[in-house]
């Protein structure tokens, strides 16, 4: 290990800040967070930022949903809008459990506790008011939301970041997901259940996972999971376990070069990838999986563990749900909320002051935590500008970066920058100096040239820093 880094670890960041604060009372900029991810389930940053003196007075924003998008929106509305912008965050869960990195619970290298973050710093550092509860109705005319306990909250602008819910699919119900065949696509108890099921597998057993048609949350995530599970089974159980990946899409949806390499070389003989499957049926009791292959031939496989990543939709968008009742689910198949990507205001109810961010919205960018963080900043910036009688930034830029573990010690990455195209009002991937068209073709995201341990180490820094920017 690098000696300098070792020294840096021994002298903790807090000590450094302490020395500096003692010796030089002013002029201190906080030090860089050290490069290791210490995996502690908290968000105790030692620096605080002053709220902007933006000039917003007497405005109320209610943020619904305390995930990656909602937490970032709440923080940045206060940071950029100042103390005259009241922010109330509505969320039923006491702590946030990150879905990012949760595949590493499946091979035993992380605990669910290491993925948990409190939202306390949003209140203590930025003055976000928090309400524990769930929304049951949005009332656009009255500009209020109603919670399950009948609490009514008034807003000038409403930011909805409700995330996704999962369909009953393939013959399974929500109780099957909770108790027998977990999707574990929202980290939590199902992640632990799936980990326990994988750990109980024996050499020769088969793990079957299914991938829904796009759009789904975290495009590389299912392929990453297949790799992590295959790597674990090879090392912990022996050479005869199999991971069967049944993809309802016609091809790998992200990092195609990386995952083709991973499936055909790194995990050759363990992972079998079948794209273009249909008619998946899963028996939660027998763990038998039936499907129709791309040649239209019916197939059946006996699994030990089944991991159905069920199709998802914006929370509340199912018929009768609160998002649907407010008329906000105007995306494809009524599953998502379409938005104006300059402000994330709903296009179903323009002028209503209702914004939808994160995985629930349809904005042309991937459904993923890093992207949700930036959507939230664009939305927060637009709201502050609108409160000051301005207009949203006419040329917003967003970005995505994500690291994918391929084994217990190696990873790849994928990154993209998205530029706004005013001709069709869409966010588009840009490269080569911010250009969205390269030699007549759309620019594409960049994936890592190699799968290696440096990327794995960087992944820890990325996760820790992303969570810090979101929660602390």
């Amino acid at each position: 290990m690098n000696n300098i880094k070792r020294i840096a670890k021994v002298i903790s960041r807090r000590q450094l800040v302490g020395w500096a604060a003692g010796g030089m009372a002013t002029g201190l900029l906080p030090l860089a967070g050290w490069a290791d991810d210490d995996r502690s389930p908290s968000s105790n940053s030692t620096s605080s930022l002053a709220l902007a003196g933006a000039g917003v007075t007497g405005k109320k924003v209610v943020v619904v949903g305390g995930g990656m998008a909602g937490m970032t929106a709440a923080k940045y509305l206060r940071l950029w809008g100042g103390s005259g912008l009241q922010v109330t965050l509505v969320e039923p869960d006491a702590v946030y459990t990150s879905s990012i990195m949760s595949n590493l619970v499946l091979n035993g290298s992380r605990t669910v506790a290491s993925l948990q973050f409190t939202r306390d710093a949003l209140t203590s550092k930025y003055g976000v008011a928090r309400v524990s509860g769930s929304v049951v109705a949005v009332n656009p005319g009255a500009r209020t939301v109603t919670l399950a306990d009948k609490t009514v909250l008034a807003y000038d602008r409403l930011v909805l970041a409700p995330g996704v819910s999962f369909d009953d699919a393939y013959g399974l119900t929500q109780s099957d997901y909770d108790a027998r065949t977990p999707h574990a696509w929202r980290a939590g108890a199902q992640t632990t259940l799936l980990r326990n099921q994988v750990a109980a597998m024996r050499n020769g057993d088969t793990f079957v996972m299914t991938i829904p048609k796009a759009p789904y949350r975290c495009p590389p995530g299912p392929y990453e999971r297949a790799c992590v599970v295959a790597d674990y089974l090879k090392k912990a159980k022996g050479p005869n376990c199999r991971v069967l990946v049944l993809d309802e899409n016609l091809s790998i949806q992200a990092e195609r070069h990386t995952f083709e390499l991973a499936f055909t070389q790194v995990h050759a003989g363990v992972i079998r990838y079948v794209p273009g499957v249909s008619d998946i049926r899963i028996d939660a009791t027998t763990k038998q999986v039936a499907y129709v292959d791309p040649l239209k031939a019916p197939q059946t496989v006996q699994a030990r563990v089944v991991n159905p990543i069920a199709p998802h939709r914006a929370t509340g968008s199912a018929p009768g749900g609160w998002l649907a009742q407010a008329g906000l689910n105007n995306g494809v198949d009524g599953r998502w909320a379409n938005v104006d990507v300059l402000s994330y205001e709903s296009t179903a109810l323009p002028g209503s002051g209702i914004h939808v961010i994160g995985d629930a919205s349809s904005c042309g960018m991937p459904k993923a935590g890093h992207v949700a963080n930036q959507e939230a900043k664009i939305c927060a910036d637009a709201i502050v500008r609108l409160f000051l009688n301005g207009q949203p930034d006419p040329q917003p830029v967003a970005n995505s970066a994500c690291f994918s573990p391929i084994t217990s010690s190696t990873a790849s990455w994928l990154t993209a920058v998205y530029q706004y195209d005013p001709t069709d009002r869409k966010m588009k991937v840009a490269s080569s100096g911010g250009r969205t068209v390269i030699n007549g073709a759309p620019a594409t995201a960049t994936e890592a040239a190699a799968i290696n341990s440096d990327n794995f180490e960087d992944m820890g820094i990325w996760f820790k820093t992303l969570m810090g920017d979101t929660t602390a």
């Binding site: 690098n2 002013t26 860089a32």
Partner: protein
């Protein structure tokens, strides 16, 4: 552990050396007397656990042009560019522009920087330099 670190992190300097550089950047960067340096105050917070932690209250740049653009950096470099892979607050635009000629697939930061126009990179640097 035999893993060799790539020599690309400016902040794998000795900690006190790094501190000196941070302070010198703060002292000469921006030239805005109402900026971060002048408004920064230090306070001490007693945590519920009984541990004592020093907290520095850092002001935000006063010119907000480039703020939303620069916020794209914060997921990997910390809010206001103060940490993560590398502290970037106070750095010059040249360092950012250098990434435009590096091979994208071998360096995630190069791939990332190439998604912005040179003008946007200039605005990001100007914001972070305040």
């Amino acid at each position: 552990m035999s893993l060799q670190r790539r020599p690309r992190r400016p902040f794998t300097l000795a900690p006190l050396g790094a501190l000196a550089i941070v302070l010198s950047l703060a002292a000469c960067g921006g030239g805005d007397p109402t900026g971060a340096e002048a408004q920064a105050t230090a306070s001490s917070t007693e945590l519920a656990s009984g541990r004592s932690t020093s907290t520095a209250l850092m002001a935000q740049p006063t010119n907000t042009e480039g703020r939303l653009l620069a916020s794209n950096c914060f997921q990997c470099h910390g809010t206001l560019g103060t940490g993560g892979f590398e502290e970037i607050r106070g750095k010059s635009a040249n360092e950012l522009l250098e990434f435009q000629s590096k091979p994208a697939a071998r360096d995630i930061m190069a791939a990332h920087a190439q998604g912005y126009t040179p003008e946007q990179l200039g605005k990001i640097a100007a914001y972070l330099k305040q």
